[in-house]
């Protein structure tokens, strides 16, 4: 079994446990949305459109984000923290590893991404 799969399964389990507490936190979702759309913060919209949400002129350097509600939280966290962990040649910046976004900010983003169908 490859590493990515193992990681996804492992995190799916831990994700299940955590969902209940996070999903209810609308403030966290709002905060995450703001980080996603603010240039000086995540600036994720520079590269990503988002399925089902109104994004102001999203870029196309990265994929349109969709079906993320079914992703384990840990997989989302890791993607933002360090995309190279699953894709060594990713064009996406490692927002956590480089110290740009804090643990709390990444968790807020994860809460927002979990609302993406």
């Amino acid at each position: 079994m490859n590493l990515t799969k193992k990681l996804l399964i492992a995190s799916a389990v831990s994700g299940l446990l955590a969902t209940a507490s996070v999903a209810g936190d609308m403030n966290l979702v709002k905060e995450g949305e703001k980080i996603f759309n603010t240039k000086k913060l995540g600036n994720c919209l520079a590269c990503h459109a988002v399925n089902g949400k109104e994004i102001n002129n999203p870029g196309s350097l990265g994929p349109k984000l969709q079906y993320l509600s079914s992703w384990p939280e840990k997989a989302l966290y890791d993607k933002i923290y360090d995309p190279y962990s699953t894709n060594p040649i990713s064009a996406m910046p490692p927002f956590g590893k480089n110290g740009w976004l804090s643990d709390h900010q990444i968790k807020a983003l994860v809460a927002y991404l979990k609302t993406i169908k």
Binding site: L45, A46, C47, N57, P58, G59, S60, L61, G62, P63, K64, I89, A91, P93, P94, N98, G99, W100
Partner: protein, 303 residues
């Protein structure tokens, strides 16, 4: 997948920088031809070759991005394939905002320094935009046009100019215009082992991830060409140096290639290298070589 191939081949190109003793531009020429091939393949038919544009919408591939774009067209940057941007570009070019700057550049060219001499002493010819940067084999360094202009000022007891805008951009606009009128092309030479090394340094810098965003110039201007950051289509490395200085609507005035380079370098999340640094000059040497053979097309306008 294709992205992978491109990135890997870029790496291979960097690591395979064996320098041939006989002809010093062998590797550079190979790189340039590979870049032309890549760009022409990418834009031959975007709607069909979707793998080059994995995240673009069907609609924009059909309606916006032009097909059959050739290397020579890319001197126009993203306006070579962004048909909506091109319309706005053509509109503005009906009354180009840089025309006065060309005239003012001509005046600067003929204006006497305090010692009675003029720029003509240093630059007897004016259609020279395509000949810079060159590698000075005596000084063992890359010399950009900007640097040559400042060297001329200093040699004549004058103060250096700001390398990003103002007089520098105006004089360069005049040189660029003269070169365009004369039908001059980019003609960068690599004629020594040291020159080839400077080229390799520039290439390596161009493909190296930098800043907290860990983006390389190539992420956006090789693989990224034709994709968007927000609504801005990214232009190709091929053709990047042909049309400077540019009047940027965002700046509201004319700026040099050095100014643009610093801007993009900053966007990558890095404390930008100065346009006069060894780093920047070697990157410009590499970039300019990639545009060899394309017609000089400046000054121009950009968003």
């Amino acid at each position: 997948m294709l992205l992978k191939v491109v990135k890997i081949s870029a790496l291979v190109a960097i690591s395979a920088c064996t320098l041939n003793a006989g002809s010093f531009d062998t590797q550079a020429e190979k790189d340039r031809q590979a870049l032309v091939k890549y760009m022409e393949a990418k834009f031959s038919n975007p709607e069909k070759n979707k793998s080059f544009f994995p995240y673009s919408t069907e609609d924009e591939l059909k309606r916006v991005i032009k097909k059959g774009v050739k290397a020579a067209d890319l001197a126009k940057g993203s306006y070579a394939y962004d048909s909506i941007g091109r319309e706005q570009y053509d509109d503005i070019n009906e009354m180009p905002p840089y025309e006065d700057a060309i005239d003012e550049g001509e005046v600067l060219y003929g204006k006497k320094f305090a010692n009675g001499k003029t720029f003509k002493e240093c630059f007897p010819k004016t259609d020279i935009a395509g000949d810079y940067p060159y590698f000075d084999n005596k000084k063992k360094e890359v010399v950009t046009l900007t640097q040559a202009i400042n060297d001329c000022l200093v040699a004549n007891g004058e103060k250096k100019w700001n390398i990003k805008k103002g007089n520098m951009a105006k004089l360069e606009a005049y040189f660029s215009h003269q070169s365009k009128e004369a039908g001059k092309k980019v003609a960068i030479k690599i004629d020594s082992k040291e020159a080839a090394q400077a080229y390799e340094n520039g290439k390596k810098a161009y493909y190296t991830q930098r800043g907290y965003l860990k983006l390389s110039c190539a992420t956006c201007h090789v693989q990224g060409t034709g994709k968007r950051v927000r609504k801005e289509y990214m232009s190709p490395l091929l053709g990047h140096t042909t049309h400077f200085p540019v009047f940027r609507l965002k700046w509201g005035n004319l700026g040099t290639l050095e100014r643009r380079l610093e801007g993009c370098n900053k966007d990558e999340g890095e404390n930008p290298h100065k346009g006069s640094s060894k780093w920047a000059k070697e990157v410009l040497y590499f970039m300019s070589y990639m545009s060899n053979g394309l017609g000089i097309d400046g000054p121009d306008i950009r968003k």
